[in-house]
Every structure is written in structure tokens, then in C-alpha cells.
């Protein structure tokens, strides 16, 4: 039996995520919302209700919603076959493909936009090529500043979310169930729709929720690729807060954005709970097999090619451009990175920027994974225990689950301003401290980790744990022997996103970065702010370094083995 002192310690540890959430999310957010909506202690209802009555704002809300919906559906459809291929087949270059697909996540939108324009812009490579091929006056593709380029960019950025979360879950599903259905006479199509798809639903909805929230709060893609004619709620919040300094309306919009996401999440967690199925999951690698038939070859390589074209092409364009000077191939841009040409105080040696970025990102990753795992453990146990306690009992964990997703859906501008006003004073005088960076990044990354691991947690059969316990395993052994092997891949996916989110993050970094701790994105923006071929070239070279660091880190994290688990 567990001593009471130990159980208090256990409770304290499980309280950590709650404390963290309250201190670094609720408190700053509450401060800024209060300043915006109740400056004199009275609620400014006029501002609060404006987003519901102003036709202009309503139009923005509508656009935000439908573009996020369409983007999510498109991303799901396009990434689904890829996830299948990654889950079921082993082939050369698999890690490479998975890494490639995740790279867009770290790139600044301005750089991605430049790559898109270089490819499919009016005088882009593809357009020029098509123009010559079809003997036209100008390139046939006119996507810039249209909804199409927004959707394309959303797929580009979020493809890997579906790919990774879905394939991590899929790998644990034994193929035997689908095979059994087929053996019983179901056509492959029927077996897919009636067996495989329902089994995958928890992971699909989990990934879809993340993608939806990302697109719902999309900012850079909208203003930079979509242009000034498009606006999401997030864009409007920025406009109100920064350009017009209308804090009440910015706060009101932020609040509605949060409420809307909360309702959505709540409905989602309800359906998740109702699915309530546990899968006889297996953590072995038996599910993966080499490519054999021509049809399988076609499927696997078709998907690889699709990923390379969709995601690789713009990245390749960037890399190529970083090595191409005005007079042919050159290393000039890379060499210049190491020279402080004009004795600038803000010169960042690339090595230092890389080191800063990696340290902060690892800190954020460890923090996010630890907190996310703790929270997921508590939630899934609570759910199981509450399942017998009727509807009310199940309500609390479900609501908590929805609540913990909110940092991802909260306007970055709003939260940033919240940190500014709340963390500048004792007792949390962290505004000037470097430690705030991994913390801020972890706030956004925890929901990610939770979405990655919760479907796995829910899928573990209690009987498995009970059996282990009966055989004499104590709590930690049960975790280590039962939960961990099944969750390993999901945790890895969560860890990788936590790392990536931190590595590419710019908003909080610029707001808090002191000259002593410049990160890679900070260095990139420093170059992009000035005219001149050398500045642009160096921005690209630095972006390529950022991708490189990210790719190496992925490979290292993926190779990171715990115990003797064999390979991935």
C-alpha cells in the first residue's frame, strides 16, 4: 500500500501541469482581457458584443471558420495515404520523408512566401516553364493573393501533423483485424470503411482538431500569401491591437476566439469519449513490412513523390536559391553569415544562434513532454474512473481536456501582451529572464503533446494493466512495461512538435529576446528587414541552416532509444 506522504507527493507532481497552466496561461490572459474589457472594473459589454453584431466582423468570423474547415479536410485527404504508407511499409528513406514533411513547421512565413512566389509566382519557375511549354503570353498559374494559395500553404504547413499523428497511431493497430474482415468476405473497400476507418477515428479526429485550430488561428499565411484582402479573427486581433490600439475590441475578439474553440473542443472530447473503444494494440514492428507487389510499389512511391513535390519543391527552391548568387553558384551567402561586415552590435554568429535555438527548444521540449504526459496520465485515469460515476463525473475530465487545448487557440498577440503586463512585476518578474522563452514555447506545445498521446492512452486496455499488476508489477513497472511501449511513438511525435514549435517561434522570441540570446528566427528577420542582395541571400542561408538544425534534431530525437526497444 502507498504511504500517505508518498501519495501527497504524487498528487503534487500531478498538480504541476495545473499550476503551470494557471501561472503561464490563465494569469497573463486574464490580465490582458481584464485590461481590455474591464478597465474600470465594469464590463465593457458594447465592445464584448461587437463581434456578434458588426457585419464586417461577422464576415471575418465566417471566413475564418470555413477556410479552416476546408483546409483541414484537404490536409486530411492528402495526408491520409501518406500516413498509411508510413504506418504499414518499411522502405528506404522513410525517416527522410518524415523529416522532410515536418520541416515547413520551422520556417518563417515570409521565407516560405518567397519560395512559393519563386515557384508559382507570376515569373516563377513553374509558370515560366508552363508559359514556354504552352506558348502563352504569361504564366497560366495566378495564385498569389487568392484563397487557393492560402489553402495550399495550410496543407503545406500542416501535412506532417496528420502524417505523424495518424501513422504513429496506425502502427499500433494490428493489421490482423482488417485481414480478418477480408477473410470473412468483405471487399478491401468495405473492410477499410467498416473496420480500419472506425479504428483510426480517435487519431483522425485528434489530428483534425489540431489542424483546424492551426488554420483557424492562421496569421502569417493569411496576411503574407493571402494579402490584405483576407482576414481571419487572428489577423483582425492584430490589426485592432497593434495598428488601431483598440484594446477593448482586440480583447473581445480574443475572448470569442477562445470561447468558440472551447465549444468546439468540448464537442470533440465528447465524441472522443463516446468512441470509448480500446484497441488490442500491439507495439511490435510486425505491422511494418517491405514493399512487395507492384501495386504496393505504386502506392508507396506515389506518396513519396507527392510529398516531395508538395513539400520538397518549395524547400528545394529555397536551398537552391541560397547557393545561387547573381553570377552563378556561390557560397557567398553562407560565408557572409560569419562576418560582421559593419561591426553591428546585433551581429549574430550562426553558431551562437544555433546553440541558443537548440538549448531553448530542448528546454521547451522537455518541459512540454513532461507536463503533457503528466496531464494526459491524470486525465485518462480520471476518465476511466469517472466512466462509472455517471454523466456528471465524466464532465470534469472532459472539460479539463478541452480547457488544456486553449493555449493553442489563443491569439499570440493577446497572450504576448498579457505576458508583458503580468510578468513584469513581482512575484513573477520573468519578463527579462531567458527562462521565460522555453516556458512560453511549452505553453503552446503542451496541448500538442496531449493531442499526440491521449488517443494512445485511451486505447490501452485496462485488462493489460490489471494483468501486469496481478503478475506483481508495481505502478511504475506497469507504466514502463505496458504504457510506454504503446505510447512511445506518440510521445515522440509530441516531442518533435514541441521542439519544432520552439525552434521556429518568433513572436515571443522577438518580444523577449535580449541581444545576448538571439535565436535563428531572430537572425533571419534581421536580414529580411533591409534591402540588398546580400541581406536576402543571408536570410535564405540562415533559413537553410534552420532547416538543417531541425532535420538533424529530428533524426537525433527519433533515434533516441529508451531501453532495448529495437528500431523504429
Amino acid at each position: 500500500m502507498i504511504g500517505s506522504a508518498r501519495s501527497i507527493a504524487v498528487v503534487a507532481i500531478f498538480l504541476l501541469p495545473a499550476v503551470f497552466f494557471a501561472l503561464f496561461y490563465l494569469y497573463p490572459l486574464g490580465s490582458i482581457l481584464r485590461l481590455g474589457l474591464m478597465p474600470e472594473g465594469r464590463l465593457n459589454t458594447a465592445a464584448l458584443l461587437q463581434p456578434l453584431v458588426n457585419p464586417n466582423l461577422l464576415r471575418i468570423v465566417w471566413f475564418t471558420t470555413w477556410q479552416a474547415f476546408v483546409s483541414t479536410v484537404l490536409t486530411l485527404l492528402l495526408a491520409f495515404p501518406g500516413a498509411y504508407v508510413l504506418a504499414r511499409f518499411s522502405f528506404r528513406g522513410k525517416t527522410l520523408v518524415r523529416t522532410l514533411a515536418t520541416l515547413p513547421f520551422v520556417l518563417p512565413t515570409v521565407v516560405v512566401a518567397a519560395a512559393f512566389i519563386a515557384l508559382i509566382g507570376p515569373s516563377g519557375v513553374i509558370n515560366n516553364w508552363l508559359r514556354d511549354l504552352l506558348a502563352l503570353d504569361r504564366g497560366p498559374i495566378a495564385l498569389s493573393q487568392t484563397i487557393w494559395i492560402i489553402l495550399l500553404a495550410h496543407v503545406f504547413y500542416n501535412y506532417s501533423v496528420v502524417l505523424r499523428l495518424l501513422s504513429a497511431y496506425w502502427q499500433n493497430l494490428p493489421p490482423s483485424m482488417t485481414q480478418a474482415a477480408q477473410m470473412l468476405g468483405a471487399s478491401p473497400l468495405r473492410a477499410f470503411f467498416e473496420v480500419t476507418l472506425p479504428l483510426l477515428r480517435p487519431a483522425i479526429t485528434s489530428a483534425a482538431t489540431l489542424v483546424f485550430i492551426f488554420c483557424f488561428t492562421s496569421f502569417g499565411v493569411i496576411i503574407i500569401l493571402g494579402g490584405p484582402r483576407f482576414a481571419t479573427i487572428e489577423v483582425e486581433i492584430y490589426r485592432q491591437a497593434v495598428n488601431l490600439f483598440n484594446l477593448p475590441l482586440a480583447a473581445a475578439l480574443s475572448l470569442w476566439q477562445i470561447i468558440f474553440t472551447f465549444i468546439l473542443m468540448w464537442v470533440y472530447t465528447r465524441t472522443q469519449a463516446r468512441l470509448g473503444q480500446t484497441v488490442k494494440a500491439s507495439a511490435g514492428k510486425a505491422a511494418e513490412r517491405p514493399v512487395r507487389t507492384p501495386r504496393e510499389k505504386w502506392l508507396v512511391y506515389g506518396n513519396v513523390v507527392a510529398i516531395v513535390i508538395l513539400i520538397g519543391a518549395p524547400l528545394l527552391a529555397l536551398v537552391a536559391r541560397s547557393f545561387r548568387g547573381q553570377r552563378g553558384p556561390t557560397l557567398l551567402y553562407y560565408r557572409s553569415l560569419f562576418i560582421n561586415q559593419d561591426d553591428s552590435l546585433f551581429f549574430v554568429p550562426p553558431g551562437e544562434a544555433i546553440l541558443n535555438s537548440i538549448l531553448i527548444a530542448f528546454g521547451a521540449m522537455i518541459l512540454a513532454v513532461s507536463l503533457g504526459l503528466l496531464a494526459a496520465t491524470v486525465l485518462s485515469r480520471w476518465e476511466r474512473n469517472a466512466a462509472g460515476n455517471g454523466r456528471l463525473g465524466a464532465l470534469i475530465p472532459r472539460t479539463l481536456d478541452a480547457l488544456l487545448m486553449l493555449p493553442l487557440a489563443t491569439s499570440a498577440v493577446t497572450l504576448g501582451l498579457g505576458y508583458l503586463i503580468s510578468l513584469g512585476r513581482p512575484p513573477l518578474n520573468l519578463r527579462d529572464s531567458i527562462i521565460i522563452l522555453p516556458i512560453v514555447h511549452a505553453v503552446v506545445a503542451v496541448p500538442f503533446v496531449m493531442r499526440a498521446v491521449l488517443p494512445g492512452f485511451r486505447g490501452i486496455q485496462p485488462s493489460l494493466r490489471e494483468a501486469a499488476a496481478m503478475l506483481g508489477a508495481d505502478g511504475r513497472h506497469v507504466w514502463w512495461e505496458v504504457d510506454w511501449p504503446l505510447l512511445r511513438r506518440a510521445i515522440l511525435a509530441g516531442a518533435i512538435y514541441a521542439f519544432t514549435i520552439s525552434l521556429g517561434e518568433f513572436g515571443a522570441t522577438v518580444f523577449l529576446a535580449r541581444p545576448e540570446t538571439p535565436t535563428l528566427p531572430v537572425a533571419i528577420y534581421r536580414f529580411l528587414g533591409r534591402p540588398g542582395a546580400l541581406n536576402y541571400g543571408q536570410a535564405l542561408a540562415m533559413s537553410v541552416l534552420l532547416m538543417g538544425v531541425c532535420a538533424v534534431a529530428f533524426v537525433v530525437i527519433e533515434r533516441f532509444r529508451f531501453g532495448n526497444e529495437g528500431e523504429f
Partner: protein, 351 residues
């Protein structure tokens, strides 16, 4: 399980560390004077080092986003200011800063050397530190190849001859965009500027969110784009030469400097109310206004020094003249009308 323990330890340490982090300054460390500024700020490392050596102060500089973001953050920080001195609030935002009572008055002795016409605040709450001209830039080689005369007035942009050639920034979100809009308001009057913009839209002007996209995604001289005319700065051609891969024989871009086509942007610095080191902050302001710092400005930030005794670098004398008669607008008038003008402009140009 070991890993779990290590994680929890790291976590606890992290939280503890963060809670007690950023401890108080002990008495014997040198006094720190903090400067907050916008993303475009730059300065020679040597210059700051010499100031630190001379005064025994430590200078901490932090960038708080673009001009608008920086100002809002300074206002929101209220009585716990983010810094002691703010550098870079410009004439389009000045009134917002003054209305929020952000600065302590300080009449620096160096102000005597500041050039006339840079809108000195009569109460000395801010001091002009530099100025720049927001102007049309064009791709010299493109116009030579197309055998087309480069534009030399705002009216030219509406000429069918220049159809589909121009990219400008969103006036609601970008400083050059707003400056250009203000230039058109001044040139065509409050009754006429919207008509002018209708003509520009009919002439297929491209409006993008910010300077980075305009310049690095669409401007032919700097990207794979197809627009040879862009709204940038009078000094951008200097940067094109200074940051060229090899020293070019002539500048690849040029600015249109004819009367009334450029908008003059003036930047100011001031001491933030609530500072605990007002005396030291004054030293920093003096230093910023002083000749040495002012001569460092042009090749660092590609704007012109406010101090008349500062000598312009050779490159500027060759490629980077400021406009003779730029549009200069009273900050109070800008503040009074900014939102209305931008809203009307948005309805015409973006809907």
C-alpha cells in the same frame, strides 16, 4: 523510470529557478540603462562599447517589434517601463505616444545641433534622432530593357503605360504603406486622393501586407517577382550598393525624388516615464544625438542623421540623396485623421 525522475527534477528546478530568477541588482554592479527600440534599429558595437567605457554604464538594448508594436508595448507597460529610453517612435505615431504621457521632458544641450524642420516638441518630451524619405523605387535595368522612362510623379503610376508595374504596402499595417498613402493625401487633397487610388486599382496596383513581401517577393530588382516599381525608401539604393554581392558600377535601383512624391518620416527618442535612472537616461539621449552616433546611423539604419554636424558617408552622397521637397505632415493632423483615411482607403483599394 530513471528518466521520469530526471524529468521531474528538471521540471521542479525549472519552476523554482524561474520563480526566483531575475534576482535583484546588487549595489556594486554598474548601473544599467535600458534602451527599447524597433526591429530596424542597428548600431556599431564599438560605439556602444565606448559609451559604456566613458560613462561606466551598462547599455541593454531590446527590440520590441515594429514601430507600432514597440509603442503599444511601451504604453501597456505603464508604470513598470520596459526600458529607460525609447528610440524610434516616428511622426505618424508621435501623437499616440504623447497622448499617453509616455515621456519625461528633457532639453538636451545637443538639440542645438539638430536640423531645422524636424518638428521639435515644444515641451521637449521627445528629440528628433533621424529622418527618412518614403519614396517610389524602381528597377533601373528593367526600365532600360523595356525602353520605358521610369516614373517621375505619382500621376505616372495611374498611366496605362505603367499598368501592372507597381507594388505598394498596406497602409493599415505598414509604415511605408501609410507614408505613401499620406503622400497621396497631401498631393491630391482629402477630396481627391481616393479618386487617385481608384485609378491605381484600375491600373492593377498590387497591395501587399508589408515591406518585406513587397520588396523580397514582388520587386523585380530583389526577387523573382514581376513588379519593377515599389514603395521603399530614398536610401534603399544605397543599401542595394552597400549590400551587393560585388561592388556594382552603379546602383541597381533608384528612388523617385521629385517634389511631393516622398513622405518624410522623422523618428524620435525620449526618456520613458517611470525610469529609475533618469540621470543616466539623459546621458544616453545626449549620446544618441551626438555627432558620433549620428554619423553611424546612415549605414546602419539607412536613414539620415538629425544632427546637422554629422557628415554623410560617401555612398549616401553618391546614391542616397534625400528628397528636396518631401511631404511633411503635422503629427497632430495625422493622428486626427489616420483611422478615417485608412478606413476610406481600405474600402477603395482593398474591397
Amino acid at each position: 523510470m530513471k528518466h521520469v525522475k530526471v524529468w521531474i527534477l528538471v521540471l521542479l528546478l525549472g519552476v523554482l529557478g524561474s520563480a526566483c530568477g531575475s534576482g535583484d541588482q546588487t549595489a556594486d554592479t554598474p548601473a544599467v540603462v535600458r534602451l527599447m527600440t524597433h526591429d530596424s534599429f542597428d548600431v556599431s558595437a564599438e560605439l556602444i562599447a565606448s559609451f559604456e567605457a566613458e560613462t561606466g554604464l551598462d547599455v541593454e538594448i531590446f527590440k520590441a517589434g515594429d514601430g507600432g508594436e514597440m509603442l503599444n508595448k511601451a504604453i501597456l507597460a505603464g508604470d513598470a517601463p520596459l526600458a529607460d529610453v525609447l528610440f524610434g517612435v516616428d511622426n505618424t505615431f508621435l501623437s499616440r505616444a504623447l497622448e499617453n504621457d509616455l515621456f519625461l521632458p528633457y532639453e538636451s544641450p545637443v538639440l542645438l545641433e539638430i536640423r531645422d524642420g524636424l518638428e521639435l516638441d515644444p515641451e521637449y518630451r521627445v528629440s528628433p534622432v533621424d529622418y527618412g524619405d518614403i519614396c517610389l523605387n524602381y528597377d533601373v535595368a528593367w526600365f532600360e530593357e523595356a525602353q520605358l522612362p521610369p516614373p517621375d510623379s505619382l500621376e505616372d503610376l495611374a498611366d496605362p503605360m505603367y499598368k501592372g508595374l507597381t507594388v505598394v504596402e498596406n497602409a493599415a499595417t505598414s509604415t511605408p504603406g501609410l507614408g505613401f498613402l499620406l503622400a497621396t493625401v497631401e498631393r491630391f487633397g482629402e477630396d481627391g486622393y481616393l479618386d487617385y487610388w481608384r485609378q491605381l486599382v484600375a491600373n492593377d496596383v498590387l497591395i501587399v501586407d508589408g515591406w518585406e513581401q513587397a520588396y523580397y517577393s514582388y520587386f523585380t530588382a530583389a526577387s523573382e517577382g514581376d513588379r519593377p516599381i515599389v514603395v521603399s525608401y530614398a536610401s534603399s539604393p544605397v543599401a542595394e550598393v552597400f549590400y551587393a554581392e560585388e561592388p556594382p558600377a552603379s546602383a541597381p535601383t533608384a528612388a523617385v525624388l521629385t517634389d511631393g512624391t516622398c513622405f518624410r518620416q522623422v523618428e524620435f527618442a525620449g526618456i520613458l516615464r517611470g525610469t529609475k535612472v533618469e540621470k543616466e537616461a539623459r546621458l544616453l539621449v545626449d549620446f544618441i544625438l551626438d555627432q558620433q552616433f549620428q554619423e553611424d546611423i546612415p549605414l546602419k539604419m539607412f536613414v539620415y542623421p538629425a544632427n546637422e554636424t554629422a557628415v554623410l558617408p560617401e555612398l549616401f552622397q553618391k546614391y542616397g540623396h534625400a528628397a528636396d521637397k518631401p511631404v511633411q505632415m503635422d503629427p497632430a493632423r495625422i493622428t486626427a485623421n489616420r483611422e478615417a483615411w485608412i478606413q476610406a482607403w481600405t474600402d477603395v483599394a482593398l474591397r
